[in-house]
Amino acid sequence: MSSQTTALNSGVHAKKADIFCKDEARVDWHSKALWVLREKRDRAAGSLPEWEQLRQLGSEMKLHTLTHLGEYLETFEKNCQANGIVVHWAKDGAEHNQIVHSILAKHQVKKLVKSKSMLTEECHLNPYLESKGIEVIDTDLGERIIQLAKQPPSHIVVPAIHMKKEEVGDLFHDKLGTEAGASDPTYLTRAARAHLREQFLSADAAMTGVNMAIADKGAVVVCTNEGNADMGANLPKLQLHSMGIDKMVPDLDSAAILLRTLARNATGQPITTYSSFYRGPQDGGEMHIIIVDNGRTDMLKDKILAESLKCIRCGGCLNTCPVYRRSGGYSYNYTIPGPIGIAVGAQADDTHSIPWACTLCGSCSYVCPTKVPLDKIIHHHRRLKAKAGKLPYGKRNYMPLVGNFMASETMLNCSMSVARTALRILPGSLLKPFSGAWGKYRELPVAPKSSFEAWFNKNRGQ
């Protein structure tokens, strides 16, 4: 079984997380690597006195756009066409993939270079095109690493964050012929540069994701640090850009708000190295934009879920999430992991467990550059799952019991009294089998003799 299938196998989050947690040193390494990004983000955000104002502006601007999305999409299409850009509309991933293939087939494309796009991951474009005989080369270094390793991304900004440099070294030795045992990141990056330069120069078409689509200009903005999107889009004569309908912004001024927060919140950089604005194809070239729904309009029909479409995919919520850092990107049963992955992927999770991969600590909502209320959305997903009768971890059976139990003072008092006595007088070894997941990792509470209420009644004489 390839690691890709292992990673994508669906299983309840807790079980996958449990496996990830078995190697504690690796969990610490993973957690720390991501926490460093959070610290860099704090420094970058803290250096701007207007940081919270930018978050508020980002949130309001995105909500404005989402509540006028039909108009903006039509304006965008009209302006794109005036700029010589061909616009396509896809209601789902399958239609997106067909459109992409039809464009590539028309130009007899054999090799496509592609920069990072979570949307194409979501639509599973690569395997589709490969099944049609088109070679797809992911050009972002992290994406190329996991593509060579036949793995899905484990993070939306740093997709190979789960791999150690020694593992990348072994992979590159095997696939790119680097020296055996070499694991220096600079050496490995140079090898990838040389390898990918050949791919750029021999590609027939290029594809990128879209960070922002500017309605009043009919232009798309693509942000990378490596320059891979631009090396791709500006060499072959055919360029394609896929975007979710949620990428729309009204104008350049709106884009500027997000460009100020995107990289700062992602990696702590003041801006990505390249923020490229494409308002038409190169001389003699062709430019296509594919606008994709794939469930987004459904989310907009729910007041709470709608706000998840304000997301600009900076990955900040993953970096701060104490659960993601300790359970890894493959534990979420969805292309996008972490808090935003739960927000946009919970409905597709057939184990129904990912909304519970969260302590509702709320850190993500405060980190978010567009104020997506992630903890509220995750909580809402739990409610939707409960309503649909799709609760994980046996909750469907025990929750009604808890409800009745907690609502009855007599039941609560009697049984807790018994429990306290048991905790006090029984030896730990006898209690352990009954203490389940709590006692497996933690000592059981030291039980008091009586309840507070009993003390109060006795000492304050009510």
């Binding site: 600590c361 609760l391 807790m416 997941a437 933690r442």
Partner: protein
């Protein structure tokens, strides 16, 4: 002031010392303390799991315990339960009587900071304490500005404690990262919850503080179980116990 205590089930059943310290400190400050009957649970274990139907009966029972009770404030020594009670009361009862109860709800630190500040402490507390800034208290009750937020900073917990003679207040590394309790999360996601708790307990211990002090009993219960399992040289205390010792 006349204060009605809201004592969540966890405190009532497993951590009565937190309730006792709360009563004693409020009385030392000259307040009259009553305990309205019929309190059970705020409904959080159910609503956090999305089970609102199952929570309704419990929540309304708690709300009814406070409806019509004559008092100036309802004070609770547990931030997370207080937040849940506020939200759940609002969810299940939009009457003016329910709103009257909601308007009087305060978490203990919040009450001592916003409503009835402590004029002076009269005993020393000669210990270094590491503050446990639990999530719901800071991110939903504004007890302290969360580390993610930029701009002006407030910290009601430190403000209330800092004038205690002899006290030294420090913070663990990753100061307000969640301890991993999360209600049923501790059981559903045992491995991750335990790892979070272990990291948090170790971070508190690494400060060299004698006590890890917090305002949320559930987090303290979780940390206590971790500290004892890891045999770490630190112990948990609720903020009410520290304040009570200094009055």
């Amino acid at each position: 002031m006349k204060i009605a205590l809201f004592i969540p089930c966890l405190v009532n059943q497993m951590m009565p010392h937190v309730g006792i310290a709360t009563v004693e400190l409020l009385e030392k400050l000259g307040h009259q303390v009553i305990l309205p009957k019929g309190q059970t649970c705020c409904g959080q274990p159910m609503t956090n799991s999305g089970c609102f139907d199952e929570a309704k009966k419990t929540t309304l029972k708690l709300l009814n315990a406070f409806k019509g009770v004559e008092c100036d404030a309802i004070v609770c020594p547990a931030a997370s339960c207080l937040v849940a009670a506020k939200e759940n009361f609002h969810e299940f009862d939009d009457s003016p009587e329910a709103q009257a109860v909601i308007d009087k709800l305060y978490e203990l630190t919040e009450f001592l900071h916003d409503v009835a500040p402590i004029p002076a402490y009269n005993k020393a507390f000669n210990y270094k304490i590491s503050l446990q800034l639990s999530c719901h208290g800071i991110r939903m009750l504004d007890l302290a500005t969360p580390s993610e937020q930029m701009g002006p900073r407030t910290n009601k917990v430190e403000a209330v404690l800092s004038s205690i003679p002899g006290i030294e207040i420090v913070y663990p590394d990753r100061r307000d990262e969640c301890c991993g309790f999360g209600g049923t999360f501790a059981v559903d996601e045992g491995a991750v919850s335990a790892k979070m708790g272990k990291d948090k307990a170790q971070a508190h211990a690494a400060t060299g503080a004698t006590y890890a002090v917090g305002f949320d009993p559930s987090c303290l219960l979780h940390l206590d179980g971790m500290i004892r399992r890891q045999l770490l040289p630190i112990a948990t205390r609720h903020i009410a116990e520290v304040i009570n010792a200094a009055l």
